[in-house]
Amino acid sequence: MHLTEALKDADRIMSICNACRYCEGHCAVFPAMEKRLEFNPADLNYLANLCHNCGSCYHHCQYADPHEFDVNVPKTFSKVRTESYGEYAWPPVMKGIYKKNGYWVAGIGSAAVIGFTVLTSMIVGGAAFFSPNPEGFYGIMPHNVMAGIFGFVAIFALFALFMGIARFWSAIGLPSPLGLKRAEILQAIHDALTLKYMGGGNSDGCTYPDEKPSKWRRRFHHMTFYGFMLCFAATSAGTIMHYLAGLHAPYDFTSLPKILGSLGGIGLLIGPAGLLWLKGKADDRVKDENTTSMDIAFLVLLFMVSLTGFALVFLGGTSLLGLALTVHLGFVATFFLTVPYGKFTHGFYRLVALIAHAYEEKNGKALPVKTETKMAA
């Protein structure tokens, strides 16, 4: 494995932390670190994916800049983490997309929005596109076309995502999923769903956006994640109603898809907006450029998916329906396309890292990383 500057720095910093250990208790990174005497790239990728960039160990570090040891775990781990998505990405040629990811996502997003709008308006004709449609948005784009396009994109995205995660899984030395105990997986899922390690290890929260502990990042993240899950549930409910119950959109406001979608949509407006706001206020010293670029792109994307989703609902009966639909679909398509190639991946890498952590805690020792990924002496 190629030794990047970030990996070298992470190795150096972990050797200092491992002799200090004052931050043990803040999060899972430190107990995992303590099980190791040396740090191979795969170890560092694993540790970096346990880190939530909460900032606690930076603000509490007596060796932080301007100390000559220049210890900065959150920033260095941000770099390593983002590089790790590239390292394990599938197909490997996609590695580069994690550099300046924000520009890629913005580019794909613009292309998708413009593409959908231009193509659809050409197909249905300008006049029809810009007038109210008695059949709602399926009058503009038939259900099967929409399902076909998104089904195809989703299958590719999920496959690419799966491949990346599988490579990460094996690189950090986790045994086959069948070799894991249920308790370990449940523990990891619990830690992921509660964002246990986004709490600074105490009742006051983590030190984000500044040195003062706060619980707001976790709250906004919960709104984002559960908002997303509600939207996902809304889409699933809609799909089931469409195919199994023969009930077709548009649904009215008291229907299951609408209620779930509206609640989720609100979460996806407030959550990402809050996270963006905190990110803006957060100390630059804990941020890595490439990661920030990816984070902002993802948060803006989620926000726009939700905002344009609401616009579609409210403009449904007007002459702007067509435009609202294609803009929304453009953002949704961008979301699906970048599932394996943007911030969305972090949830899965995080979950795998938490599974590894639960496994290590149960077994009381470090996972054996693959020898070919060992760092040269």
Binding site: R21, Q62, E211
Partner: protein, 467 residues
């Protein structure tokens, strides 16, 4: 900051923004006093040596959320008596011990979090409460509490002089980046630490060997305030040579290397000086009980330098060090790498190996592995040094903090030369730790002294000023 301070008379002026000073500032402000803290270091280095700490020693009669079992007053007192060889002021020491039973809760009330006991090499979960995130997290929390209480804090504001008349403090002269100005207050809390970072002063006490000492903590504790107070007629406590000093890695930075520069494998191997000779029993007692004497031992060796040598058998048995050791497959090769005479080292190692009496090695107890017949025997954990690769870590004396200070009474009032308390000066922390620590050290008692006397000093100063 200068404008906020100049021309105003505060109730309480705190000089030195470490754990002791901030504790005093917060307590005084909670009593309703107006408080100003002058911190000599920039914001990034605020909190002096306190930001390097990891725990405090707290008396308790029953298990608590952060301490196991019990650590009663009598046991704490006996521990202190043993390490200081009786050189302590019993009244003040017992005050510190009793006061420590409130320290954890006081800090928790002020935003400090503790963590469960460390599993590592120091078995301290019973006697010591560990800060989550270490001492800098503690200091951040205390600075936040102070800010919320309206305490005025100036960074980069070292005090160079005091206006002091007949045992009565009037004002302090600050030499900051904003120029030289005067800070006035009705009372003073002196909490600017010891003089450990003042190499010239250390040299006065220790002679030229002090040049080779490393300073484990802040470069800002230069003892300026201590020197001024002594010059103003404060009672001197302790001897300038008394200090806490440990053996740390010789490659550590001159200042501020902190905890990670320690070397934890002395009891597993042998220690030789630059001549390649052993000079002290490496296995006398558990390392946590012995690490504090090794600073002095190494300071007594030529060039103030030594090397600990271990073989493969000891790999992975101690906390991983930051600095990579010298590694070699033979003893002569290792000797060449670390610059000690090859023949002498070979002789030392073979004499040692020949003297080892086989036993059942157990690093968690005082085992029966020892040497016999050497001028300097190793009394526990003695195992032959014969399995390559061999590793060597260099050792130098690292000064933690000095004990020379000003005398205080049980109200934390500073005593004058004639034994009478100064009317409006209080002292807390390192600057008066010598009252309790005549010599020796108990892990975690530095923060205990700072906390207990900081709380007393803050309350007493506020009471004095507000009366």
């Amino acid at each position: 900051m200068r404008e906020e301070i100049e021309g105003r008379t505060f109730d309480v002026l705190v000089i030195g923004g470490g754990h002791a000073g901030l504790t005093a500032a917060v307590c005084a402000a909670e009593k309703g006093a107006t408080v100003c803290v002058l911190e000599g270091a920039p914001h990034t280095h605020r909190g002096g040596n306190s930001r390097h700490t990891r725990n405090l020693r707290a008396m308790h009669d029953a298990p608590t959320d952060v301490l196991t079992d019990a650590y009663p007053e009598q046991e704490y007192w006996e521990d202190l008596l043993r390490v200081t060889k009786g050189k302590t002021n019993e009244q003040l020491a017992r005050m510190a011990i009793r006061g420590s039973s409130e320290s954890v809760a006081w800090l928790q009330d002020h935003g400090v979090h503790f963590q469960p006991a460390l599993g590592g090499t120091l078995h301290l979960g019973r006697t010591n409460a560990f800060f989550m995130g270490g001492g800098k997290a503690v200091m951040n929390a205390l600075y936040r509490s102070a800010r919320d209480l309206g305490v005025v804090v100036a960074y980069d504001a070292p005090v160079k002089d005091l206006d002091f008349q007949d045992g009565f403090f009037q004002s302090a002269t600050v030499e900051s980046k904003e120029g030289t100005y005067v800070a006035k207050a009705k009372t003073l809390v002196a909490s600017a630490g010891g003089f450990e970072a003042n190499l010239e002063w250390l040299e006065e006490a220790w002679g030229p060997t002090a040049k080779n000492f490393l300073i484990r903590g802040t470069p800002y504790n230069r003892g300026d305030l201590l020197k001024t107070l002594l010059a103003c007629g404060a009672q001197q406590i302790g001897d300038p040579k008394q200090c806490h000093a440990v053996a740390i890695d010789g490659r550590a930075p001159k200042f501020d290397g902190g905890i990670v520069t320690r070397v934890d494998c002395v009891s597993l191997g042998i220690v030789v000086n630059v001549n390649g000779e052993r000079f002290y029993d490496e296995g006398e007692d558990f390392w946590p009980k012995r690490y504090a004497i090794w600073g002095r031992l190494v300071a007594g060796q030529p060039e103030q330098l030594a090397h600990v040598i271990i073989d493969k058998k000891s790999e992975g048995m101690f906390m991983p060090p930051v600095f990579k050791p010298e590694v070699a497959d033979t003893i002569p090769e290792l000797a060449a790498k670390i610059g000690v005479p090859v023949e002498t080292l070979e002789q030392t190692v073979s004499d040692f190996n020949a003297a080892v009496v086989d036993g059942a090695f157990n690093h968690t107890e005082l085992d029966d592995c020892h040497t016999e017949g050497l001028a300097v025997n190793k009394t526990h954990w003695a195992r032959t040094i014969d399995k390559p690769p061999f590793r060597a870590f260099s050792l130098r004396p690292g000064i933690t903090f000095t004990y020379l200070g000003v005398g205080v009474n049980e109200r934390a009032q500073m005593l004058m030369d004639d034994g009478k308390p100064s009317a409006n000066v209080f002292a807390a922390g390192e600057i008066m730790a010598g009252n309790v620590l005549g010599e020796g050290y108990l892990a975690g008692i530095g923060m205990t002294i700072g906390g207990v006397f900081g709380r007393i000093a803050g309350k007493e100063a506020a009471r004095h000023a507000l009366n």
